[in-house]
């Protein structure tokens, strides 16, 4: 009974997900999102080298992001400056493994 009253007083409630998305989920580790217009081949190469989990690779003039491999560590976000941001996405489940592979064109000069 005590835990119940304490819960009422503190307002501890079960998440309403999936009806509502909790505000704190913005802070969850999440894969990167890229500003492809600022993404130069040089920077992309550095990002690929920095990725611990091999989630990034270069294929021609595209940066390939495999969400299935990404652990959301955020190293590429720290390295990428204005070109890389946290995507804030956590609802990534898919029936199709290939749908988790994203191709980002390298748009930046240099």
């Amino acid at each position: 009974m005590l835990w119940f009253l304490r819960g009422l007083r503190k307002g501890v409630v079960t998440t309403r997900y999936p009806r509502e998305r909790d505000a704190w989920t913005d802070g969850l580790p999440s894969p990167p999102a890229f500003r492809s217009d600022l993404l130069t081949p040089t920077l992309a190469g550095r990002l690929v080298d920095a990725c611990h989990s091999g989630a990034l690779r270069l294929e021609g003039d595209e940066l390939v992001l495999d969400l299935g491999s990404c652990g959301g560590c955020g190293d590429c976000v720290r390295l990428g400056g204005e070109a890389v941001y946290r995507s804030g996405e956590f609802e990534l489940a898919s029936r199709d493994r290939e749908a988790l592979v994203k191709r980002i064109p390298l748009g930046g000069a240099g």
């Binding site: 079960t14 969400l67 959301g72 493994r97 064109p105």
Partner: protein, 164 residues
């Protein structure tokens, strides 16, 4: 052919309808570091409360509808994994959880397959290292057709999304 597709679609809907009210989950650790398991365990906490969505963990594969596999599919677990899947009555679903199970961490060698796909057919993939309990909930609801996939519409290219 069209008839078969239609029948398959109707069957899928019926299965989703039944699983949507009550789905029993058997977890299988195929060489995970146990962080995926710690997130899975959180689903039973009062905050996530997976029972409110008609989801339940069960230790018995015979009672399960869904096999949830974590880990990089070590070869030593092959027989156990296949037997666990066979013990689950049809219709059944297989969900691969975490970067290891999706082929993101370990490359195939004499010890591991590196991905769960290589051992059992996977219906839904949940990425993350580890996936948060909410990501797991989303994946389980996608597996039972109660939520739509989101990831296919995402490009992870901010410029393209700004234009669109």
């Amino acid at each position: 052919m069209n008839d078969e597709l239609r029948l398959a679609g109707e069957l899928r809907e019926r299965i989703d309808g039944l699983f949507g009210r009550s789905l029993h989950i058997r977890t299988f650790d195929s060489g995970s570091c146990a962080v995926c398991e710690s997130e899975l365990r959180l689903l039973s906490s009062p905050y996530y409360d997976l029972h409110r969505l008609g989801l339940f963990f069960t230790p018995a594969p015979r009672h399960a509808d869904l096999l949830l596999v974590t880990g990089a599919a070590v070869r030593a677990a092959d027989a156990a994994l296949r037997k666990t899947l066979e013990a689950i009555p049809e219709p059944r679903l297989v969900v691969a959880v975490g970067a290891c199970a999706l082929g993101g961490v370990f490359e195939e060698d004499e010890l591991v397959h590196g991905r769960v796909d290589d051992v059992v057919p996977v219906d839904v993939y949940i990425p993350g290292c580890p996936p948060s309990p909410l990501a797991l909930l989303h994946g389980l609801l996608v597996a039972t057709g109660r939520l739509e996939e989101k990831v296919q519409a995402l490009s992870f290219d901010l410029r393209r999304e700004a234009v669109a």
